[in-house]
């Protein structure tokens, strides 16, 4: 029995907890992508850099708060700075809409034009962030780091294997659930939410129903900015902040949004978890885990690893392909342009 518990603890520590945390991070990012896709109907390549922009503002405010001695006790100060980050990020995003995307909306441009325009915005945001905060790694986490540590867990349970849960992981998971629920409620229950869906479905007819497209677009961007800032900040708290990493995050985030089904908030979550779990479970070396489950004398010959971590990325994409082959519009049927 103890062996089973140990095995389970081992798996939780190295596979389940990290995968859930990572999955939630991806899901939060993918939500932003999926929202913009769902309402404005294009793949926003600037999302990764929007995340880094929002996070940068949060960091600057966090530093300021820290220097003034303001903090949230066990919680990270960054949470206090979050609204400021969201505000500035939203302003930036609205400006970019005003000066770039609005023009193409009036022209009824092809989604791919928006996509390329968003690459332009990505470059510019990229430059701004590096200009202000530089390309370096930044640490801004403070407060309590752990909900439970491996050592404490072992002492508590008397098992050989410990489980660590970081505060940032817990926060991310809870936030993800709350944000998705809120978004779902917003889109399906509120007037603004419905008008956004209508707008995405048939822009012309939305006008004819008295919907103000400018308002719809503005709300969408504000929510996207909020999502980006929240996702970026939580990610930064858990790992660290480095502009280049945020740019690289774009790929798994898109993968998550697409396997889940573009334009569908639930899909973003499912997608995030599919990507995270496939990366981690397939490259995990099950040697120790199996050793716990087998009789004492048994010893594993190798690492029992399905594929080396070299192919971690490849694996998640293979899973993605398989999912798409079975469900061509993602796990939750998404929209397609």
């Amino acid at each position: 029995m103890e062996n089973w518990l140990n095995a389970f603890a081992l798996l939780s520590n190295f596979v389940i907890v990290p995968a859930i945390a990572y999955g939630s991070q991806l899901a939060l990012g993918a939500l932003g992508v999926t929202l913009v896709f769902g309402i404005l109907r294009f793949s926003n390549f600037a999302h990764g850099d929007t995340m880094s922009l929002g996070t940068m503002v949060v960091i600057l405010f966090t530093w300021w708060f820290q220097s003034m001695g303001i903090n949230l006790g066990p919680l990270p100060t960054a949470l206090l700075a979050l609204p400021f980050g969201i505000f500035f990020c939203a302003v930036f995003v609205l400006l970019s809409d005003r000066f770039v995307y609005r023009f193409y909306r009036a022209k009824r441009a092809d989604p791919v034009i928006y996509l390329i325009a968003s690459v332009g915005i990505m470059f510019i945001t990229n430059g701004i962030v590096r200009f202000i905060i530089g390309p370096d790694d930044q640490n801004f986490a403070d407060g309590e780091r752990f909900i439970i540590r491996a050592r404490e867990f072992k002492e508590m349970t008397g098992l050989d294997q410990g489980v660590t849960i970081k505060l940032s992981q817990g926060l991310t998971f809870v936030t993800m659930i709350v944000v998705v629920a809120a978004l779902f409620w917003f889109l399906n229950r509120t007037r603004s939410g419905k008008s956004m869906r209508a707008y995405s479905d048939n822009e012309d007819l939305a006008l004819l129903s008295g919907i103000n497209p400018d308002k719809v677009v503005a709300i969408t961007w504000i929510i996207a900015a909020a999502l980006a800032t929240i996702a970026g900040t939580l990610y930064g708290l858990d790992k660290s902040f480095k502009p280049f990493t945020y740019f690289q995050l774009l790929l798994p985030i898109f993968a998550a949004a697409i396997v889940g089904g573009l334009g569908n908030p639930l899909g973003a979550i499912a997608g995030g978890f599919v990507i995270a779990f496939s990366e981690i479970t397939i490259t995990y070396a099950y040697k120790r885990f199996v050793e716990y489950l087998m009789p004492e004398s048994w010893e594993a010959g190798g690492l029992i690893q399905l594929l080396s971590t070299d192919y971690k990325f490849a694996v998640s994409f293979i899973i993605l392909l398989l999912v798409l082959l079975v469900r061509p519009h993602g796990i939750f049927k998404g929209t397609g342009v």
């Binding site: 869906r197 209508a198 012309d204 004819l208 129903s209 008295g210």
Partner: protein, 234 residues
Amino acid sequence: MSYLIGEGMTGGYGSVDILHDCTIAVDKGEIAVIVGPNGAGKSTAMKAVFGMLNIHTGRIMLDGEDITALTPQARVAKGMAFVPQTNNIFPSMSVEQNLEMGAFLRRDDINGTLQEVYDLFPILKQKRNQNAGELSGGQRQQVAVGRALMTQPKVLMLDEPTAGVSPIVMDELFDLIIDIARTGLSILMVEQNARQALNIADKGYVLVQGRNRFTDTGHALMNNPDVRRSFLGG
């Protein structure tokens, strides 16, 4: 002066003008019908009246007020409703949500109107939770008209509302239009089922190549042999 007038409209989609000094008007409680060959500019005229297209000369007046500069959504707020000829539903929203979107600007209880629309088009009630994009052609058309009715407008503009609907529904639709007009609304519609439409029309316009060719009462047009032969199919 009529309740709604599009006066001397000239304009088009790009550099080429489609409409040439075209005038369309409808009064309170009146039904006005536009007929004409394909590509004559009927739909274009409707869009121009609704502000979905730039006209460089002419003006649009509603109830004595110049609304030429208003956006379409502002015109909706002024009590105009429009059913376009194509793309007239929200395909990935359910039938009921489509109808609700029609009442987007209304703040009062919409259940009564919803019920009326369902009574008029019983099939929609059956299909209320289905995505409108999965409906048959005629059913979509009913959703589109239903959506416009949900706004409880003062002016109702319909671009070929009966295209693709079965005879029985078409009759009911025309009945309804008459009823609506009797309550004091203005109705402006384009029709290819022209004889039926002109039959109930107070006023008819024949548009050819973006110009007013004939303007008269519905019956007069019906009885004009030229019009009959060239535009109403004999």
